[in-house]
């Protein structure tokens, strides 16, 4: 990867937009706790109190300030989705590369395993593991990552197969370079772009899945502030105090939108770079 590539990515307006939106949400989640007027677990107002005066977004089912919980509740969902997507990317692309280059029994085994786990609905798999083993954050991250890995394997394998057939890989094999070197130095840089785009998509799905888990009651434990959990907690008061549900839902949506068009923009500009080469 070169510096030039990053600049080319930023030349795409969509990439800039996506990066800006994503950064804004991340900044909100990172620095939000410092800006919050109240502690996230302080009960400061009436239950389902409407937005008046100090509480811009009103109060939730226990009388917490919604704005404060909103500002404090992003960090957990963001770091968990980033962690899950990163683990899935690292493990999945290594396995996919290995499968793509070996193209024999190892390939069959890895592809078969990926296919079997793809046949399992993601959310059910995660629910199963979390309900059996508990809801420690690292466990949730791990299970979400496991749900993502088969998709990354398929993508990395498919991209690697098309690159592995090219002569520069054969040249490397003929020189007798080690397999690890061929995988990570010759092939990986050439399939990094689709993988990064997929990483962006996984962030989006991860936020959705983690919020879903919280909503179902398997994610972050109350009373911790968490966007997904907030939607769950306050659904009963949706008609009385809609902000307690809408505000976290909107932020999740905005983050998903940002990462999504960021990924799309990167994909577009590298497709354009590819065109230049015969």
């Amino acid at each position: 990867m070169s510096k030039i590539d990053y600049w080319r990515w930023l030349a795409e307006p969509q990439t800039r937009q996506g990066a800006l939106i994503t950064l804004l949400v991340v900044a909100l989640a990172l620095f939000g706790p410092l800006l919050a007027p109240h502690g996230s677990t302080d009960m400061v107002g009436p239950v389902y109190g409407a937005p008046v005066g100090g509480g811009l977004l009103g109060y939730d089912f226990l009388g917490h300030d919604v704005l404060s919980r909103l500002l404090s509740g992003g960090l957990s969902v963001l770091w968990m989705s980033v962690a899950a997507a990163s683990i899935a990317l690292a493990v999945g692309s290594s396995l996919g590369l290995l499968a793509g280059l070996s193209r024999r029994r190892l390939d069959q085994l890895i592809t078969w395993l990926a296919d079997v786990s793809l046949a399992f609905p993601d959310l059910i798999l995660v629910l199963l593991i979390v309900s059996m083993l508990g809801r420690a954050p690292w466990l949730i991250v791990l299970t979400v990552a496991i749900a993502f890995i088969p998709g990354v394997i398929r993508l990395a394998r498919a991209s690697a197969v098309s690159v592995a057939g090219q002569e520069f890989v054969e040249a490397a094999q003929m020189m007798g370079y080690s397999r690890r070197r061929i995988l990570f130095k010759e092939i990986l840089p050439n399939i990094l772009t689709p993988l990064l785009v997929h990483f962006g998509n996984m962030l989006t799905w991860g936020v959705g899945m983690l919020s879903g888990l919280s909503f179902l009651g398997y994610g972050v434990a109350p009373p911790t502030a968490d966007w997904g959990l907030m939607i769950n907690e306050n659904q009963a008061g949706l008609l009385v105090q809609p902000w307690a549900v809408l505000a976290p839902a909107v932020l999740i949506g905005v983050f998903a939108y940002g990462t999504n068009i960021l990924a799309e923009g990167i994909g577009r500009s590298s497709a354009r770079m590819g065109e230049k080469q015969p």
Binding site: M1, S2, Q166, E167, F168, E170, A171, Q173, M174, M175, G176, Y177, E186, P189, N190, L192, K276, Q277, P278
Partner: protein, 592 residues
């Protein structure tokens, strides 16, 4: 209908055609010419000369990013550039046909041959009933030399050979009886024998049906027996137009002469002369004559104004201030002394090599390669020449047999060879666009084998890389670049440089010039010749007998996996013993 002169009809009239990229950068400018019915025009130029842009502009099409901004294209009296939508779609096909370069990708693999032809007829309002349609298809298939029984019509494109596929493309163009047909290098993917047959068919069809044709090619030798007139393009301009005989006998433009001097000729060995420098990219043309910086007849006046196309006394039209007017002196066939001095010890011995995938591609092939010589492996596609080369390189799978290198047994798999041996045998691939990792700079590509084989890094590696770049005639600044900013010839030089850094004794070249322009090919062949003089042994795989004549000391002819003839180049090519070699020679394009 347009002007009628001497009883022939002008079919195509192009005037002042101009195609631009964004930002008013012209790819093509000031192109005017006309064609009579039945006349075949050869459109010749190297990559980037704008010949394909011109060919597609004749169909009122410009590739993405380009725009036809000015000029006229009149076909049989219809102004094609003013047509739009439905009318343009009807004109394409019925007035003007197009045959693409690669039939394997141009034919829809999901449609049967019969359906392809029927569909083509159906979308054009010809008022043919079913029986007349079927008859038209049968006639056309007969004309292009294909079987026309029901069984053949039910076949899919992948069930045909490359030559048959290209004949189907011809049938698709001719079935609508167009007035003009545009062919974009339709035989580059084909063997010489097939190519000769297709060209003969094309010429017969054009003459008998009175169809004008524009044949785009980068190789003057290929079109010599096909065309009536030749138009040479350089940097988006026509630089010379002449009848075939006049052009080959006394080429007027220095560029045309340069092209002719760069083409290796199967008829006799001679020194190939590359044209120095590069063709300018669109938007980077020098002031005045675009060819000026590469021209040996350059005068200060050449840089003042762009020379216009002017008729000369010899019947040429040429855009040059000082055109040649002498007949072309065939460079005397000064035989280059064989570089190799025959030694008894063979560097490489192959004994009883068999290679089989789903079918057997090599049968008991044995050969000896002496140190310092250049052995050419020649054959058509499917002859097993590449399988043989790959087996020697250790890339072959499913190979059996004995290899001996410098007297020692050599394992068939590169992985089983010792590192000390591996660097001595290097392989250069056919396609320079896929042989270099697009995400590595040239320096990264070149320094990797240094570190791998010799543990050389840092400043020492940088020095060696610079030295090897100089050896393959590339500037040292290339080291910072990525492959996509290099031309095909430059990439192939980098690939050769990578092989040279491994300090090889044996260099295997697999059709390494077939993707390159003739003038670039000439310079690469000269480089290889130089390397051979420095003591390198070459195994050169090619299908082009002209290249064999230019570079090889000995030649080995392969036919469907078996050696049919081998010997010294001049004796094999001058007195071929095997019937197969004679057929190959007969169909090889030649300038003589």
């Amino acid at each position: 209908m347009n002007a009628i002169s001497q009883g022939t009809t002008t079919v195509l009239q192009v005037s002042d055609l101009r195609v631009e990229l964004a930002g008013q950068v012209d790819v093509l400018s000031g192109v005017s010419f006309s064609l009579q019915a039945g006349e075949i025009l050869g459109l010749v130029g190297e990559s980037g000369s704008g010949k394909t842009t011109l060919a597609t502009a004749l169909l009122a099409h410009a590739r993405r990013g380009a725009r036809i901004v000015g000029g006229q294209v009149q076909i049989a009296g219809h102004g094609l550039l003013s047509l739009e939508g439905e009318a343009l779609r009807r004109a394409r096909g019925s007035l003007i046909g197009y045959v693409a370069q690669d039939p394997a990708t141009a034919l829809n693999p999901a449609l049967r041959i019969g359906n392809l032809l029927r569909e083509t007829l159906a979308v054009h309002p010809l008022q043919l009933n079913k029986a007349a349609q079927a008859q038209r298809i049968i006639d056309t298939l007969h004309d292009v030399g294909l079987p026309h029984d029901a069984e053949f019509l039910r076949r899919f494109p992948h069930q045909l050979s490359g030559g048959q596929q290209q004949r189907v493309m011809l049938a698709l163009a001719f079935v609508l009886r167009p007035r003009l047909i545009v062919l974009d290098e339709p035989t580059t993917a084909l063997d010489v024998t097939t190519q000769a047959h297709i060209l003969a068919t094309l010429r017969r069809l054009c003459k008998s049906q009175g169809v004008a044709a524009v044949y785009v090619s980068h190789d003057l030798a290929v079109i010599k027996d096909l065309v009536d007139r030749v138009m040479v393009m350089y940097a988006g301009r026509i630089v010379e137009t002449a009848t075939r005989d006049a052009l080959f006998a006394r080429p007027a433009h220095p560029y045309t002469r340069g092209l002719l001097a760069a083409i290796p000729d199967v008829a006799g060995r001679r020194e190939l002369l590359a044209i120095g420098g590069h063709a300018p990219a669109p938007g980077q043309r020098p002031a005045g004559c675009s060819f000026g910086p590469r021209c040996e007849r350059f005068r200060p006046a050449c840089a003042q104004a762009e020379p216009l196309l002017q008729a000369t006394a010899t019947g040429h039209e040429v855009a040059c201030l000082s055109p040649h007017d002498q007949p072309l002196q065939r460079v005397a066939l000064t035989p280059i002394a064989a570089v190799a001095t025959r030694t008894e010890a063979a560097l490489l011995e192959i004994d009883g090599l068999n290679v089989a995938y789903d079918r057997q591609v090599l049968f008991d092939v044995s050969l000896k390669l002496h140190a310092g010589e250049c052995l050419a492996l020649v054959g058509e596609s499917g002859s097993g020449k590449t399988s043989l080369a790959r087996a020697v390189a250790g890339l072959g799978e499913n190979a059996e047999g004995q290899l001996r290198y410098a007297g020692q047994p050599l394992p068939l798999q590169a992985r089983q060879r010792e590192a000390g041996l591996r660097h001595q045998i290097q392989y250069i691939f056919q396609n320079p666009y896929r042989a270099l990792n697009p995400r590595h700079t040239v320096y990264q590509t070149l320094s990797a084998p240094l570190e791998h084989f010799f543990g050389v890094t840092g400043q020492a590696a940088r020095q060696r890389v610079e030295a090897v770049l100089a050896r393959v005639s590339l500037p040292a600044s290339v080291a910072q670049l990525y492959p996509h900013s290099l031309s095909g010839g430059e990439r192939q030089r980098v690939a050769i440089a990578r092989a040279l850094l491994c300090e090889p004794k044996l260099l295997i070249c697999d059709e390494i010039t077939s993707a390159l322009d003739v003038s670039v090919q000439a310079s690469i062949l000269e480089l290889l010749r130089q390397l051979q003089r420095d003591g390198l042994t070459l195994l050169f795989v090619t299908h082009d007998l002209g290249v064999v004549r230019a570079i090889a000391d000995r030649v080995l002819v392969l036919k469907v996996g078996r050696v049919v003839e081998q010997g010294a180049v001049d004796s094999v090519l001058d007195q071929p013993q095997a019937a197969y070699t004679r057929t190959l020679l007969e169909h090889s394009p030649t300038l003589a």
